[in-house]
């Protein structure tokens, strides 16, 4: 198959562009969006590429419609994605919950900017971490990834599609305005170098009759695509294994939501990914995610030069959260610093993980500038 961009070599591109190219290589063939800074370039790249690969790119009337179209496309069999920033992400919340409840594989990118409200459209922030995890109402479970470089934006986008398909779940990618617009060298692999996962389809009539069951015991039901004769009914109401609404029996709700949690949490080890840097002998740890991790790596180097045994735990997955790994870290180090571009969100997760075994300190920063390495160093050395 022919691609509308060079593959099998490196290119110097923006984060937004990397997300779009990765999505196409992961098999995404449906994009619906609404323009917003700093995610518009994802849409514009998709608008350019999609028709050339016989995919769809369509501008909807708002972000509610965008995510709705994406979910519809997924039930019709396409890998589908939308991208936005804070205001649009807020509008998407109801249907994000619908995707959780109906177990629809979709990918939603939020290139975070300063908020709340219209806030700082062109400046990076990490104020939507908790919204990505808890923004839609009700008990729910989904996957949230967070890249820190353009290459990682590319790699995690492919991973996002694979996780969405494998676990029949929405996956959110949290980038930021800096990453969205920054240009870096990225290796764009050949399609045969990429592992692409496709959703399980019903193997037989029996499986197709229970589109919300658990025939394989892994919590993930095969997905009967529309138009293939299965006659599947999909609803956001609490439903039994066959998909029928059953809204007044407590057990039905417990079983359904329980499985939606379980299918992710039982595979936590496979889903969660992080990188460590100089942690082996560290007595001071920095825990970060996304764009700040770049300054954090530099800060670790600077601290080491000053004789401070510092290390970094860089999380590529925000949710599900690896509380155990933080607790192990807290047993090892004296103190954990959490630099983030908000007034304290990841910090609370880290504190819960540390479980009192190490002191945890927040290095908060808002306003639209990424922490400088020096700002982190100064806080650590006091």
């Amino acid at each position: 198959m022919r691609y509308p961009f060079p593959v099998g070599r490196s290119d110097f591109i923006q984060g937004d562009e990397a997300v779009a190219r990765a999505a196409i290589l992961a098999g995404c063939r449906f994009y619906a969006g609404y323009p917003i800074t700093p995610a518009s370039e994802i849409f514009e790249a998709m608008a350019l590429y999609m028709p050339l690969v016989d995919g769809v790119s369509i501008q909807m009337e708002d972000e509610i419609g965008s995510i709705a179209a994406v979910i519809g496309a997924s039930w019709a069999g396409a890998k589908a994605m939308t991208a936005t920033s804070g205001p649009g992400f807020s509008l998407m919340q109801e249907n994000l919950g619908y995707a959780v409840m109906t177990e629809t594989p979709i990918v939603v990118v939020n290139m975070m900017r300063g908020g709340p409200s219209t806030g700082q459209p062109t400046f990076p922030a990490q104020g939507d971490l908790m919204q990505a995890v808890w923004g839609t109402h009700g008990d729910h479970m989904l996957i949230v990834l967070s890249p820190s470089t353009v290459q990682e934006a590319f790699d995690l986008t492919i991973r996002a599609f694979n996780l969405a398909e494998k676990y029949r779940t929405p996956v959110v990618i949290l980038g930021d305005a800096e990453l969205a617009h920054m240009r870096e060298r990225v290796y764009i692999p050949n399609p045969d170098e990429i592992e692409v996962v496709n959703r399980k389809l019903p193997a037989n009539e029996d499986e197709a009759k229970l589109p919300f069951g658990d025939p394989h015991g892994d919590g993930v039901p095969p997905m009967p695509i529309f138009g293939r004769g299965y006659r599947t009914y999909v609803t956001g109401l609490t439903h039994d294994e066959s998909g029928h609404p059953r809204t007044v029996e407590p057990e039905v709700q417990q079983k359904l939501i329980g499985r939606i949690f379980r299918k992710i949490l039982d595979h936590k080890d496979e889903i969660i990914s992080y990188e460590t840097f100089e942690l082996d002998d560290a007595e001071i740890a920095i825990v970060s995610t996304g764009i700040v991790s770049r300054s954090a790596i530099r800060a670790v180097k600077m601290l080491r030069e000053r004789g401070v045994r510092a290390g970094l735990l860089k999380l590529s997955t925000v949710w599900p959260f690896d509380f155990e790994v933080i607790e192990e870290l807290a047993e090892q180090v004296r103190k954990i610093y959490v630099p983030e571009m908000n007034l304290g969100q990841l910090y609370h997760l880290v504190r819960e993980g540390a479980n009192g075994k190490a002191e945890v300190e927040l290095i908060a920063k808002i306003g639209g500038e990424v922490h400088t390495p020096m700002e982190i160093v100064e806080r650590v050395v006091g």
């Binding site: 619906a32 369509i58 529309f226 138009g227 009914y233 956001g236």
Partner: protein, 282 residues
């Protein structure tokens, strides 16, 4: 012939027996419109596996749950946006969007206008019961002036939307409105709508004795029928009437029947154009 086929045979052929009984109250008109739609499908000989029913939230939107087809019961107002994704991904599927008046014209009003503007290839069946049935009788954007709802207990003071006319203006290929008592016209309109390319819409005035009638001194379906007879005017007659005379009336009939290219066809052409412009194809 459809007119002779018993409702039992239609029921047995198309309904999910394990989902019955329906949630609909006695005297509710939604079941009649469901029957019209199924008879239209049956008469056209359409396969159950080539149609997807999409809906939002409300009494009307529960319909896809009772029919043995693929169905997507979505969020309040958003059915047509979901339908956009389904249709563009698999253009071979026919889509019926079954929606309420509040669902389609209030919270979903923007999606309705834009789905029509795009000429999305979907057949919208809209149940206009002048109220929010499911939530207990609040006023809807269709509620005629002076009628009562729990959120305008002294009588609606806003102007109503004319959904079928809105469809005409926004560019639908087909738009018609009937009451649930226009049996033949209703079925024929749905048949036409299902056969056409682009956006087609059939609106039905449909009795909701429980949430609407009760609050407007029409506790039963027969009282609502008599009221419909009073307020509806056939299109041919309406054309001869002055605007003042049409005040408070609802015109019924076929308002648009045209053949502009639908979104699927337009997008196919767009793909060709893109490939040509990029030199990928001649």
């Amino acid at each position: 012939m459809m007119y002779l086929k018993s409702s039992y045979s239609i029921r047995d052929k198309y309904l999910r027996k394990d989902m019955l009984p329906t949630i609909f109250c006695p005297g509710c008109g939604i079941g009649s419109v469901l029957q019209f739609t199924l008879r239209a499908i049956d008469d056209l000989g359409l396969s159950q596996d080539e149609i997807v029913w999409v809906s939002g939230i409300g009494c009307s939107s529960r319909v896809p749950g009772y029919v043995n087809f693929d169905g997507l019961h979505t969020t309040h107002g958003r059915a047509l946006a979901f339908a956009t994704g389904i249709k563009l991904t698999n253009p071979d599927l026919k889509i019926i969007a079954f929606m309420g008046d509040g669902d389609s014209a209030a919270i979903g009003g923007n999606h309705l206008i834009h789905a029509i503007r795009r000429n999305l290839d979907v057949t919208a069946i809209i149940i206009n019961n002048f109220t929010y049935g499911m939530t207990g009788g609040q006023v809807a954007p269709t509620t005629l002036k002076g009628l009562r709802g729990t959120t305008a207990p002294y009588g609606q003071f806003e102007n109503p939307f004319d959904i079928a006319q809105l469809a005409v203006t926004a560019g639908a290929n087909y738009a018609a409105r009937w009451t649930v008592f226009n049996y033949l016209q209703g079925i024929n309109s749905i048949k036409k709508a299902l056969q056409k390319e682009g956006f087609t819409l059939v609106e039905f005035l449909s009795p909701c004795p429980v949430s609407f009638g009760r609050r407007n001194r029409m506790k039963t379906a027969p009282e609502l029928i008599r009221w419909y007879q009073k307020i509806t005017v056939p299109l041919a007659k309406a054309k001869k009437m002055k605007p003042e005379e049409l005040e408070g009336k609802v015109v019924i009939g076929e308002f648009a029947d045209r053949d502009r290219p639908g979104l699927v066809r337009e997008y196919r052409e767009y793909i060709k154009r893109a490939k040509k412009m990029m030199g990928w194809e001649q």
